[in-house]
């Protein structure tokens, strides 16, 4: 792997940058691997990376139906935070946040993790109660999260409209300072590069079309559009397509795939220092390093695999943005798009073994799994390597829906990003 640094950049500059080599090897599939990961998004690539890095496994393939990380990894609003309510979730997301904090260095790839803080704005007395509950729960879990008055929130984020005369005045906000954003593509590319360097095969434009089973029902590999690939273990990390892929093994999941939309403004000079989320009036916004306002819109209500939705959804979001930040009304939408999110009934993920031996699944991240990318990858790798979950992801099973032990962050907080 070519080392990335200011020095190597300078050296290459002298040669007109002709000396750079592919960041990952995009290869044709071999007939067999020890482990096949289905889905080359951030989660799948990260899983392969940690399998290689932490568990010493090398004979691994990541199979991606399209271009690498072209799913939700390419299309999310990049909010990273760990201030979730329940112990189970917060320890999962905090595990991830800790990995984020060193990811650029670990991967030798600048993923631009920018810990600019995340303000969650409260508009009602109920919001205040809920957010304070988060603040207290987080503090005792060792996760930073603090309560700010409306004035303090404005000081932290000057564009915020805290006038008492707006329809839903801002009553205060919780702030996780360690929260932030990262360059979404870079995360996937960084994992791909590092994994590839350790021998992982990255196979693009290869769609898994079937899951091969042995006589005992155990996994034997996958059928793909590029032929049969045998494998002792298969880890599925297909986000919006999880139901489709798992359906090939006869497993129904508690998932619904919905379009989730996002948009960016034209770029402007730095005007927004942090991330602001308002669950009550549905607005999520931050400004990228390039200058666009990155804005998360809502979910279309129906199942769809089209990666697009209705214009009324982003329009509704922009109403909220304009209300909270009336000086941004004259900014303009540059591009809007959709992704396919896989949502569970309790809005918490599944990272687990399945009833099929040798088949593992990491899914249900819905509208909020970018932040979990290194964490989920790390724990999914553990689960596959050891054939048992790590204590952190142990509660995140499929069976929790049967047993009634849901981890319902949404019900507790009405938020999933």
């Amino acid at each position: 792997m070519q080392k990335f640094s200011a020095l190597s950049l300078a050296r290459q500059a002298l040669g007109g940058h002709l000396g750079w080599t592919p960041q990952w090897r995009s290869v044709a599939p071999k007939p067999a691997y020890d482990i096949v990961i289905v889905g080359g998004g951030g989660h799948g690539l990260g899983t392969a990376y940690y399998l290689a890095k932490q568990h010493g496994l090398r004979n691994i393939a990541v199979i991606e139906r399209g271009w690498l990380a072209g799913g939700n990894t390419a299309r999310n609003t990049t909010i990273i935070r760990s201030n979730y309510l329940f112990d189970e979730s917060s320890s999962y997301y905090e595990h991830s946040l800790k990995l984020w904090e060193n990811l650029s260095q670990e991967l030798n790839y600048n993923v631009m993790f920018s810990q600019r803080g995340c303000l969650m704005v409260a508009h009602t007395v109920h919001d205040v109660q809920v957010f304070k509950r988060h603040v207290h729960a987080n503090r005792l879990n060792g996760i930073d999260n603090e309560w700010l008055s409306a004035e303090e929130a404005k000081e932290f984020c000057p564009p915020l409209n805290i006038s008492p005369n707006i329809r839903y005045p801002v009553l205060g906000a919780s702030l996780q300072r360690r929260a932030g954003t990262a360059r979404h593509d870079a995360v996937a590319w960084g994992f791909a590069r590092a994994a590839s360097d350790m021998g992982v095969d990255i196979i693009e434009n290869c769609e898994v079309t079937g899951i091969l089973r042995g006589p005992g029902g155990e996994v034997r590999g996958v059928e793909t559009t590029r032929g049969t690939i045998r494998a002792g273990k298969v880890g599925v990390s297909a986000a919006g397509h999880s139901s489709v892929v798992m359906g090939m093994a006869g497993i129904r999941l508690p998932l619904q795939s919905n379009p989730l939309q996002a948009l960016v403004s034209e770029p402007v000079k730095p005007a927004f220092p942090t991330i602001v989320m308002s669950n009550t009036i549905h607005a999520y916004i931050s400004q990228s390093d390039k200058g666009e306002m990155v804005i998360g819109a809502g979910t279309d209500s129906y199942v769809s695999y089209t990666q697009r939705g209705g214009l009324h959804i982003p329009a509704h979001t922009l109403e909220a943005i304009c209300e909270l930040f009336p000086m941004f009304r004259r900014l303009r939408m540059l591009r809007s798009w959709g992704g396919i999110t896989d949502n569970t009934p309790d809005r918490s993920p599944i990272t687990a073994k399945t009833p099929v031996p040798g088949l593992y699944v990491n899914c249900g991240w819905g509208t909020g799994g970018f932040k979990a990318t290194p964490g989920a990858a790390n724990l999914f790798a553990w689960t596959i390597a050891k054939n048992e979950p790590h204590p952190i992801n142990a509660p995140f099973t499929i069976e929790r829906f049967r047993d009634g032990v849901m981890i319902d962050e949404a019900a507790a907080a009405a938020v999933a990003h």
Binding site: H241, S243, V244, G247, R252, L253, P254, L255, Q256, S257, S301, Y302, V303, S304, Y305, T306, G310, L311, H312, P345, F401, R402, D403
Partner: protein
Amino acid sequence: MLLIRCPYCGDRAEIEFANGGEAHIARPADPMTQTDEEWAQYLYMRDNPKGLIAERWRHAHGCNRFFNALRDTRTDRFVTTYEMGQPRPEIDAAAAAEAAR
């Protein structure tokens, strides 16, 4: 914004409707006789198909009736809508192909 044909009111814009998830998942007649596994299947497990889905809609801001629809989730094209209680319509290959287009 989808255009949805309410069986009672005709074509209306999606914002008048509420989606009700997959259709034809009948509530067991006697839930207490269900195993935990069966109950979870009823309550949570879904086909979530990539392709034709039978789904429920309620004309929430119109006649307030639930009805069913057959739609292709790859294209969001509707094949048909039909009243609650009717079975899922059989459709021919041409209609399916048209919906998939």
